[in-house]
Symmetry: C2
Subunit: 234 residues, 2 copies
């Protein structure tokens, strides 16, 4: 069987580059809420791109709630409360720089709410096939370890399967974003970790609670898993 050629994201388009540059600057606080980005022609010229590319970048940022444009008034950064903080791109832009510690705290707090609830839902609704898949993923994870690419992939698979087992599309998309964000943060700190602990045991406990259809147990198991993960970073 052929390995299907991995879908290549391709080179970043110009308007995406512009959106990333300005978006990152906004999230880093270079342009505070209320700040003015008035003057399409000057701004685009200053970046050395056409107004077309610049405007399309603005549309992307506006779609994510970071800016707002009106004729005569110009383009301004919106208050933080309107930003789509869980958007995948916004998340990535946030973690290009040093992320605000308060933001990371908020993120973990939300994770602590969402993921145990998701585990409980999964325990109630999982199919046999999903349990099979989760067990298989943990098996690979145990055999290869988290040091290998395969092991990390299996870890991802496990969590993805768990989310899908909730049968709640909104929870899936949300927890997916949060999980990705948390991985970004751990990626930072994990550099220093000389001796990583083996996280397999708590994964197994969680998996079996879900297999048993035990929402309360799954909730508690996920809580424990998150507690241990957080402990590893301190």
């Amino acid at each position: 069987m052929h390995m299907k050629k991995a879908k290549r994201p391709g080179p970043e388009r110009l308007h995406q580059q512009v959106a990333r540059t300005i978006g990152s600057a906004i999230l880093a606080g270079v342009h505070a809420p209320g700040a003015s980005l008035v003057g399409e022609v000057e701004q685009s010229a200053a970046m050395g791109v056409s107004r077309t590319a610049y405007r399309e970048a603005m549309k992307i940022l506006a779609a994510k709630g970071l800016i707002e444009s009106r004729p005569k008034a110009g383009t301004h950064v919106t208050p933080r409360s309107r930003w789509a903080l869980l958007d995948p791109d916004v998340l990535a832009w946030t973690f290009t720089g040093e992320p605000d510690p308060a933001y990371v705290r908020d993120l973990f707090e939300l994770r602590g709410v969402i993921e145990p609830a998701a585990a409980a839902l999964a325990a109630e609704r999982r199919s046999e096939a999903q349990v099979e898949g989760m067990r298989a993923a943990l098996s690979v994870m145990g055999a290869k370890g988290l040091a290998t690419e395969e092991g990390r992939q299996a870890d991802n698979d496990f969590h993805r399967l768990l989310l899908e087992a909730t049968g709640n599309a909104v929870v899936v998309s949300l927890a997916g974003s949060v999980g990705a964000a948390v991985q970004w943060t751990t990626h930072f700190k994990q550099q220093k970790q000389s001796k990583p602990r083996d996280p397999l045991p708590e994964h197994l406990v969680l998996c079996e609670a879900i297999a048993d259809g035990d929402p309360v147990g799954a909730h508690a198991a996920m809580n424990e898993l998150l507690r241990l993960a957080l402990e590893d970073m301190a």
Copy 2:
């Protein structure tokens, strides 16, 4: 003191119209995931707009994860799992048509997870000023009732203040989206409600639990509030 002129959204721009039209069609299932919107020139001509406006609309939809474009391959609708289901615009587009019952169920389920947790956080972190504001809002709500615009505004204020009291920016933006979505759905069904129940008592219980700094009580009170609200719709 002058009342600042209320910010008027103004007329919808052309590219926003196009984005709304196609976005709504995607969410309504007219264009299923994988469906092709190939041919910018033809598509834009068919809608009677310039290619510029059409492309800017595409950038908006792409920013919300609904579509994906690549040269030669064309533009296609992405799988549902990538959609930003909690984006304000996406929510609005969803509720222009008959929303999928499963989606509404998922939304309420998430609300049942988020809002009690938010109430508990608020109980731990609220300031005195915030408690004052929440009490004042409930006072107005009790005096005017939910039949008046002022009363509904006070209800919104209460919930907004509660969220702000969590001190968690991510929870605020998230719960704000979910709350807005839930209001859309209730707006549908509430038409038929001949005799609305007075929701003030459970609001007061919740408010006092938060004022007392009682996370467990606040969690339970919010659960009860949501249970009653859901009951009103059945």
